[in-house]
């Protein structure tokens, strides 16, 4: 397959067909070459590497949902709300990532969890952190003939908290106003190694380093809504969109972080 792509760099890769099928029906896309990944065994498997899973590019979201149900229940719920069973049964993480929509729902979760991508061109592979993958709106570092072979997703470790939630007008099958994912380590009542990621706030899904710095080393009681508001204002360009106004987006973006931090602190107290 890698050789096929080298021979025909203009090949349209096809996995779940939930995006390409739309382009064919609605934009009359007629790619000259189509390369269907679904029967490529090496791309259709999940490898357990001990501390991480290597999820092949053609693995369906339905499979990932089952895989992550215990490890990252919030991620599994984001996947459940990603689309209906017929969509989840074919759509893939790699497809969501490479399509690179600003409101792609899996990317905030993957970014907060420190996922990386194995990119392959011919026989050569390289690994790129997902946070370094996007170069702009639907732009990425993939070279001609290069493709995503797998996603490397770290497994949860002791004292790690991972939370994610998607805000949309409908609960099922809708497009995000924003989806927020947060991961941190609990050290006593302090948060360390904080990662916060969003979609819907920028030209591509991205981390929010200013919020991360704000939370790093703090306990839940030290975190104020005003400080997060200021960090959001300093991080993103205010932009009203079809799915939500900026006022709404920035408000829920702040509230989701507050909620995740407070609930984690409460859960730790009860435990």
């Amino acid at each position: 397959m890698a050789a096929y792509l080298t021979a025909f760099p203009d090949t349209q890769l096809l996995a779940g067909s939930t995006e390409i099928g739309l382009q064919v029906n609605k934009q009359f896309s007629r790619p000259k070459h189509i390369c269907y990944l679904g029967n490529v065994k090496a791309l259709s498997t999940v490898k357990d590497e001990g501390s991480a899973w290597t999820i092949g590019a053609a693995v369906s979201l339905a499979t990932v949902e089952v895989l992550l149900a215990d490890a990252y229940p919030d991620f599994a719920e984001v996947l459940r709300r990603f689309g209906s069973p017929p969509i989840r049964s074919t759509a893939t993480l790699a497809g969501n990532i490479v399509n690179g929509s600003p409101i792609g729902d899996t990317m905030p979760c993957l970014l907060a969890l420190g996922a990386s991508l194995v990119l392959r061109k011919g026989k050569a592979t390289r690994t790129v952190m997902l946070e370094n993958f996007y170069t702009g709106m639907k732009q990425n570092v993939l070279q001609p003939s290069e493709f995503v072979e797998a996603i490397v997703l770290p497994k949860p470790v002791a004292n790690q908290v991972f939370r994610a939630h998607k805000i949309s007008k409908r609960f099922e099958q809708d497009i995000s106003a924003t989806c927020c994912a947060v991961s941190f380590m609990r050290t006593g009542d302090r948060m360390t190694q904080v990662k916060v990621a969003y979609n819907g706030l920028a030209p591509s899904p991205c981390r929010a380093p200013k919020i991360e710095v704000l939370l790093e080393g703090k306990s839940a009681t030290d975190v104020s809504a005003d400080a997060i508001d200021a960090a959001i204002a300093a991080s993103f360009t205010a932009r009203d969109g079809l799915r939500a106004t900026w006022a709404y987006r920035s408000l829920v973006a702040r509230n989701l972080v507050l909620q995740f931090v407070e609930e984690a602190a409460n859960a730790a107290q009860e435990a």
Binding site: Y4, I34, V40, A42, G83, P86, I87
Partner: protein
């Protein structure tokens, strides 16, 4: 426009046929313009069909399987839901998933099994329990969404024969019905699940050997052969089904 598509069974590209013949032998290649799949105990070979043909269009326009409907043509409404089956690891049974046939392209069917709403009728003419319960519970009004709903539910009961109402709602989250309000449909599903589990299974005994027959071999060849030509019929000729048991029915029916 001439092109081809890749439907590899391994991560290695296999050389295409260098020359074109119109023989009826299956084309055992990975770079191909032929798609083979199993439909209710027959192998269907789609050859020379435009590669962006959707599964829905192929079913409706070439195979006259018009029970499957087109609603939104973007994977939202679920009127086009069918079941796609693949051999399990052991190779002795078929595992199914529901798909929106309106956005699936024909190459994605290669080596797989297809079940449409027409597949559900039992050999003695009875309806599938999900269909029968839909009738009994008034789960269908205008009827346009019904085939897709029946397929989503039938797919669910292949693996979950004791669903909760929440399970049913999730299985139906991709099927829009603007008539019923869903309650009779959920009731119908639970009623169907009171039938013996064996009755809920789709009949695929005849499909298993055929799925093995059409499996593409995993042969490693030099990548340099990839650039040789593909079948010039691609994109021009109509689909041919070489193994069809029954002749195509005329449409509209007389």
């Amino acid at each position: 426009m001439i092109g081809h598509f890749y439907v590899g069974a391994t991560d290695v590209v296999v050389a295409p046929r260098a020359s074109i013949t119109l023989s009826r032998k299956p084309l055992m290649t990975q770079v191909t313009n032929t798609v083979r799949f199993v439909l209710d105990g027959e192998i269907v070979e789609a050859q020379g069909v435009r590669r962006t043909t959707t599964v829905l269009d192929y079913l409706r326009e070439d195979l006259q399987r018009t029970g499957t409907k087109e609603g939104c043509a973007e994977g939202d409404c679920g009127a086009c839901v069918i079941m796609i089956g693949e051999l399990n690891e052991a190779g002795d049974a078929v595992e199914y998933k529901p798909v929106n046939s309106c956005i699936q392209l024909l190459p994605a069917l290669d080596g797989k099994s297809v079940k449409t709403v027409e597949s559900l009728k039992k050999s003695d003419g009875r309806l599938h329990p999900v269909q029968a319960a839909m009738v009994e519970c008034h789960g269908s009004q205008c009827g346009f969404c019904t085939p897709g709903i029946v397929m989503s539910l039938t797919n669910m009961v292949q693996t979950n024969t004791t669903p909760t109402r929440k399970d049913v709602a999730d299985a139906l989250s991709g099927n829009l019905c603007r008539c019923t309000g869903y309650i009779p449909i959920i009731d119908a599903t639970l009623k169907a699940c009171s039938q013996p589990a064996a009755d809920l299974k789709v009949d695929d005994k005849a499909d298993v050997p055929l799925l093995k027959e059409i499996r593409r071999p995993s042969i490693q060849r030099s990548a340099s052969t990839v650039t040789s030509s593909c079948n010039p019929l691609c994109g021009h000729a109509r689909a041919v089904s070489l193994f069809r048991l029954q002749p195509l029915k005329k449409w509209p029916p007389t």
